[in-house]
Amino acid sequence: MLRAVLDIIPIAHGKITIKANKIAYVPQRLPAVSGIPISVYESVASGLLDGKIRLFSKKADKARVLQALKQVQIEELAGKSLAKLSGGQLRRVMIAKALVSKPDLMLLDEPTAGLDSNSQKRLLRTLRELKEAGVTILLITHELGGLSVLVDRAVVLDRKAKKNISYFGKLPIPLNLEPESHHSEELKAKISESVLGLNS
């Protein structure tokens, strides 16, 4: 779904408007680690690119990369090859790569997938700091776990429900969620305006 939001894959109908200057995306799949070795530093530094030609690398770039690594607590891994990292460490590298561009909208696809409880706590801390700094975070997950304390609005997708949405609102999600019970015109408007349009 995030790939559709980002216009990487086409949407069947409707329109998605994103009002953000800098977007960062953390996909669910971990980076391929076979083939040419890539260091953690190089991977994160590639997040600084914006499609423009850079004649010279700036001194500030290095500081930003190191800062992003520090935010996810893997600064000691900067020189290591991605191939030598664990799944949790790779996930943090991807988040650092997203952070380095200083985004105002961050999209994360299953950010806790494959993370142990310590790594999940670190991720929670990082996301809380980002939220406090004013970054909008849109994340998709099958299991909210500790992240639920950060959520302002949740949308529960359900294939059986009308419009495939069975809940929209604040947490906690009602336990006895009736798939058909939340489909007023008001909800529809809210979803298209606030969720898909990301207008707020």
Partner: protein, 281 residues
């Protein structure tokens, strides 16, 4: 070893041409291997042969013709591959066959009526690089360096993750075409010394050797370039003293270096076994 041969101009030209290709081919090859396009250079080499065949037919200088056909061929492959990977694979195969067939066909139509003239372009030659050729090759090499300097980071980022690159506003399609053009340019630089059939090997084998012991993309590029230079110079020297074409000799040397690096790196790899990445759902 008697190095007097390098007092001759033809040997000096061959030496300079081999330095150029030895340095530049692995740089481009690193991006090709990262994007799993190791065979694109081969495709470029094959289709460049058609350009050489046309040049022989009309009595023109082969390098510009090879440059045009190789560039058109690789860009075409890339455009087709962008639509469908399976179709891209097929396009690569068609370019392989069509390139060789076109080269032999057009060269055979030339006044001499023989395709033997193609041999020096297929496997490289010590004596064919003229002064004008060398100027062309040096200019093309400079262009390759400039493109890598200006656009290399974008090629690298697309190689890591195409989706993220798109979100970063990196023009992914343009970047793919730039890499295709780089392959074509490199093939043309190598066609005089290494030959069109084997030039792709000097783009790929030093990279395969370097990545045995490196930890980063940049170090792989630099080490591969160094190994390419060593292979190219050593191969050229051997071919001066043993009567064999330089292309196969250079490739044999680079394969030898790869074997040594792979054997030397094996204990290191066993020692630093990665933790298995966690499963993606």
């Amino acid at each position: 070893m008697n190095l007097e041969i390098f007092t001759f101009e033809f040997a000096q030209r061959a030496l300079i041409a081999s330095v150029l290709i030895g340095l530049v081919a692995p740089l481009v090859g690193t991006y090709l291997v990262q994007r799993r396009l190791a065979l694109l250079g081969d495709g470029a080499g094959h289709v460049a042969l058609t350009g050489v065949g046309l040049a022989i037919l009309f009595g023109w200088t082969p390098i510009p013709f090879a440059l045009v056909t190789a560039t058109l061929g690789t860009v075409l492959i890339e455009l087709i591959r962008d639509r469908s990977k399976a179709a891209g694979d097929l396009a690569l195969a068609l370019v392989f066959y069509g390139g060789i067939a076109g080269g032999v066909f057009f060269a055979s139509l030339s006044p001499g009526g023989t395709s033997a003239a193609l041999n020096s372009y297929l496997f490289g030659s010590l004596t064919t690089a003229s002064r004008a050729d060398l100027i062309y090759l040096a200019l093309i090499t400079i262009i390759i360096f400039i493109i890598i300097y200006l656009w290399g980071q974008n090629i690298f980022a697309v190689g890591i993750d195409t989706d993220i690159a798109k979100v970063q506003n990196i023009p992914v399609k343009v970047t793919a075409i730039v890499l295709a053009v780089l392959s074509a340019l490199t093939v043309v630089v190598g066609m005089r010394v290494v030959g069109l059939l084997l030039v792709s090997a000097i783009m790929i084998i030093p990279v395969a050797a370097a990545q045995q012991i490196t930890n980063s993309f940049k170090s792989t590029m630099f080490l591969a370039s160094f190994l390419g230079l060593i292979s190219s110079l050593a191969g050229l020297l051997i071919s001066f003293f043993v009567d064999v074409p330089p292309g196969p000799t250079i490739v044999m040397v680079s394969l030898g270096i790869f074997a040594i690096m792979a054997i030397a790196a094996a204990p290191l790899k066993r020692k630093e076994k990665p933790k298995a990445p966690l499963h993606n759902h």
